[in-house]
C-alpha cells in the first residue's frame, strides 16, 4: 500500500506530532518542564514553518486525494507555525508572571497548530472536521487556562458553548453535502460543483458549512462571542486565536469554494458574503470607537478585519483569494505584535488595559511606543505597512468583480477605523503620563514584538515577493 509510506512526505506534521508526544514525555518526566518546553516548541515550529515555505512549490496530493501539501497549504502552514512561535516567545514571561506556568500550555499550543495545519491541508470533509475539533478544543482550554481569574473562565465557557454550536452547523452541513454529493472528497465536490449547486439540499448544506466557519472567523452576525472571549482570555492566547484561528477558518472556506474562484462559476454566495462583509466592517469599526479597553478594541477591530477579508470571498476570483491570503499573513503578524505590546504593558493582573495606561508611553519606553505605533498604523492600513497592501489587493479584486460599492464601503470603514487606531498613537506620544506604570523587563517579549514588527515592515515594503508567490501557487 502506497498510502502508508506517504506519511513521510508530511514532515512538518510529523515533526509537530512527534513534538507533542515528546512534550508530554518531558512534562511527565521532569519537574522543570516549564523551562524546557517553550524553546522546544519554538524550535519545532520554526523547523515546520521553514520546511513548509521552502517546499512551497512542491504541490502534491497524498493519501488518495485526502490531503495536500505544498502550494497554498504551505503558506498557511507558515502563518500558523511562525505566528504560534512568535506567540510562544511572547508568552514565556507572560505566563510566568500570571502564575499559569504549566508545561501543558505549550502542549496545547502545539496541538492546536497541528489541528490548523490539518485543516489547511485537508481535501476531505472528515479531515477538516477532525482538524477543526483539534484546534477548537485546544483553544477552549487555552482560553480558560488561568482559572484564578473570573474573566478567563467566562471566556472559556462562552467560547466553548458558541463554538460547539457553530461546530453543530458545520456537521449538519457536512451531512447534507455528503448526502447529495455522495462523497466527502473536496476534489469531487469541487469537480462537479456546478452540477451539485443546482440541488437545493447541497446549497443548504454548503450554506450551513460556510455559516459555521463564518462563526469561527468572527464575521458580523456571528460575532457575539468575540469581545468577551478576546478580552477574557490571556493576552497571548487572544493573539493566537484572533490570527491563526482566523487564518485556519479562511483556509477551509477558500478550499471548499475553490470551484468559484478558479472555474469562473457564478458565486451563489456573492450577496451573502457582500452583506456580511459590509455589516462586519461597519459594525466593527464603529463599535471599536467607543472602546477604552485595548483588548476589547482590538476584538472589535478583528470583526472589521474579518469583514475586509470577506470582501475577497464575495469577489470570488483568483486575485481576491491571493488578496485574502496576503491579508491573513499581514494581519497575523501585526495583530500578534499589537497583542505582544499589550501583554508587556498590562501588568501582572491585567490592570493596565485601559487606553489611559498608554499615555506618555513614549517617554517611558520609546521602543515599545514605536512598535505599537507601527502596528496601529499597519492595522489602520497606512501605506508603507503590510496592512495597507492586504486591503489594497482585496479592494482591487472586488472592483474587478464589479463590486465597486463594496470596495467603497471598505475604504469608508478603514477611514473610520483610523480614528481609534491613531487615538492610541496620540495617547502614547502627545499625552503626559498620568499613571505610574512599571513596564516589566522581558527580553523574550520584546524580541517577539520586534520580530513581528520586522515582518510587518518587510511584507509592507516588499509586498510583491509574497504576493507573487501566492499567485503562482494558486494556479495549481
Amino acid at each position: 500500500m502506497t498510502a502508508n509510506t506517504e506519511i513521510f512526505q508530511l514532515l512538518p506534521h510529523l515533526v509537530i506530532g512527534v513534538g507533542i508526544v515528546l512534550s508530554v514525555v518531558i512534562e511527565i518526566s521532569t519537574k522543570k518542564s516549564e523551562s524546557i518546553l517553550p524553546w522546544f516548541t519554538i524550535l519545532i515550529f520554526v523547523f515546520a514553518g521553514a520546511h513548509s515555505i521552502i517546499n512551497v512549490y512542491d504541490y502534491q496530493i497524498l493519501f488518495g486525494g485526502m490531503y495536500a501539501i505544498g502550494g497554498v497549504t504551505a503558506i498557511f502552514n507558515f502563518i500558523f507555525t511562525i505566528g504560534a512561535a512568535i506567540m510562544v516567545l511572547n508568552a514565556v514571561d507572560y505566563i510566568k508572571k500570571s502564575k499559569m506556568n504549566f508545561g501543558e500550555f505549550y502542549i496545547l499550543v502545539q496541538s492546536s497548530v497541528l489541528g490548523m495545519m490539518l485543516m489547511a491541508g485537508a481535501r476531505d470533509l472528515f479531515m477538516i472536521f477532525i482538524g477543526l475539533e483539534l484546534m477548537s478544543i485546544c483553544f477552549y482550554v487555552l482560553a480558560g487556562i488561568n482559572r484564578s481569574r473570573m474573566g478567563n473562565t467566562e471566556a472559556a465557557l462562552k467560547y466553548f458553548l458558541l463554538g460547539a454550536f457553530a461546530t453543530g452547523f458545520i456537521v449538519f452541513g457536512i451531512a447534507l453535502i455528503y448526502g447529495t454529493a455522495k462523497s466527502t472528497s473536496i476534489d469531487q465536490i469541487v469537480f462537479a460543483y456546478e452540477y451539485f449547486i443546482t440541488d437545493v439540499l447541497f446549497l443548504t448544506g454548503l450554506a450551513l458549512f460556510v455559516i459555521g466557519f463564518l462563526f469561527k472567523i468572527a464575521a458580523f452576525p456571528f460575532h457575539m462571542w468575540v469581545p468577551d472571549v478576546y478580552q477574557g482570555a490571556a493576552t497571548p492566547v487572544t493573539g493566537l486565536m484572533s490570527t491563526t484561528g482566523k487564518a485556519a477558518a479562511f483556509s477551509v472556506l477558500i478550499i471548499i469554494l475553490s470551484a468559484v474562484f478558479t472555474q469562473n462559476i457564478t458565486n451563489n454566495f456573492e450577496i451573502l458574503f457582500a452583506v456580511i462583509a459590509t455589516l462586519s466592517m461597519l459594525y466593527g469599526s464603529i463599535v471599536a470607537i467607543a472602546q477604552d479597553n485595548l483588548k476589547r478594541m482590538l476584538a472589535y477591530s478583528s470583526i472589521a478585519h474579518a469583514g475586509y477579508m470577506t470582501i475577497g470571498l464575495a469577489a470570488g476570483n483568483i486575485e481576491s483569494v491571493s488578496g485574502i491570503i496576503f491579508y491573513l499573513t499581514a494581519y497575523a503578524f501585526m495583530n500578534l505584535g499589537a497583542f505582544g505590546v499589550i501583554a508587556l504593558i498590562e501588568g501582572s493582573n491585567e490592570e493596565n488595559l485601559d487606553i489611559n495606561s498608554y499615555s506618555g508611553l513614549n517617554s517611558k519606553s520609546p521602543i515599545l511606543a514605536g512598535f505599537m505605533a507601527l502596528f496601529m498604523f499597519a492595522l489602520a492600513g497606512i501605506p508603507p505597512m503590510a496592512g495597507f497592501f492586504g486591503k489594497y489587493y482585496v479592494f482591487v479584486a472586488s472592483i474587478k468583480a464589479d463590486l465597486t460599492w463594496l470596495a467603497i464601503v471598505g475604504v469608508f470603514s478603514s477611514a473610520i477605523s483610523v480614528y481609534f487606531y491613531l487615538r492610541v498613537v496620540v495617547y502614547m506620544y502627545f499625552k503626559d503620563s498620568t499613571s505610574s506604570i512599571i513596564i516589566k523587563n522581558s527580553f523574550t517579549g520584546l524580541l517577539a514584538v520586534i520580530i513581528s514588527g520586522l515582518l510587518v515592515l518587510v511584507f509592507g515594503i516588499l509586498p510583491d515577493t509574497l504576493f507573487s508567490i501566492i499567485t503562482s501557487v494558486l494556479s495549481y
Binding site: 500500500m1 508530554v24 511527565i28
Partner: protein, 122 residues
C-alpha cells in the same frame, strides 16, 4: 439477514423473562403487610435525615471523562481487531503501525493522567 441474530435475541428474551419472573414471583408469593415504618429507607436504624440526593465529589466527574476518552479508543480497536487478519494478509506490517502509533499517543495520555494524580483517591 436478521436470522443470524436469532440466538442473541433469544438470549435477551430469556434473560428479560427470567429477571422479570424472579422479581414478580417474589412479589406474587411473598406475604406483604406494608407499614409506614417498614417502607422507610433503611439508615442503620436511625430516622432518615435530609434528601438522598447528595452531591458527589467532582473527582467522579474526571474519572467519567477519562472513561469516555478511553471508551472511544476501544471503539477504534474493535473494527481493527475484526479486520486485522485481512488487513495483515493484504498489507503486512502496514496494517499494524497506524494502530501502534494511535495506542502510543493515547497510552501517553493515560500515563499523563496517572502521573498528574487524576486517579488518586485521597
Amino acid at each position: 439477514m436478521i436470522e443470524q441474530y436469532l440466538p442473541i435475541i433469544l438470549v435477551l428474551v430469556v434473560a428479560a423473562v427470567f429477571a422479570a419472573a424472579i422479581v414478580f414471583s417474589s412479589r406474587l408469593f411473598g406475604p406483604q403487610q406494608p407499614s409506614k415504618i417498614k417502607i422507610m429507607p433503611y439508615e442503620s436504624g436511625k430516622d432518615p435525615v435530609g434528601s438522598t440526593h447528595e452531591r458527589v465529589s467532582i473527582k467522579y466527574y474526571i474519572v467519567a471523562m477519562m472513561f469516555i476518552i478511553f471508551d472511544i479508543e476501544v471503539i477504534y480497536l474493535y473494527p481493527w481487531g475484526v479486520e486485522f487478519r485481512n488487513l495483515y494478509n493484504e498489507y503486512g506490517f502496514f496494517a499494524f503501525w497506524p494502530m501502534l502509533v494511535f495506542l502510543i499517543v493515547l497510552e501517553l495520555g493515560f500515563l499523563y493522567i496517572y502521573k498528574k494524580g487524576a486517579l488518586k483517591w485521597d
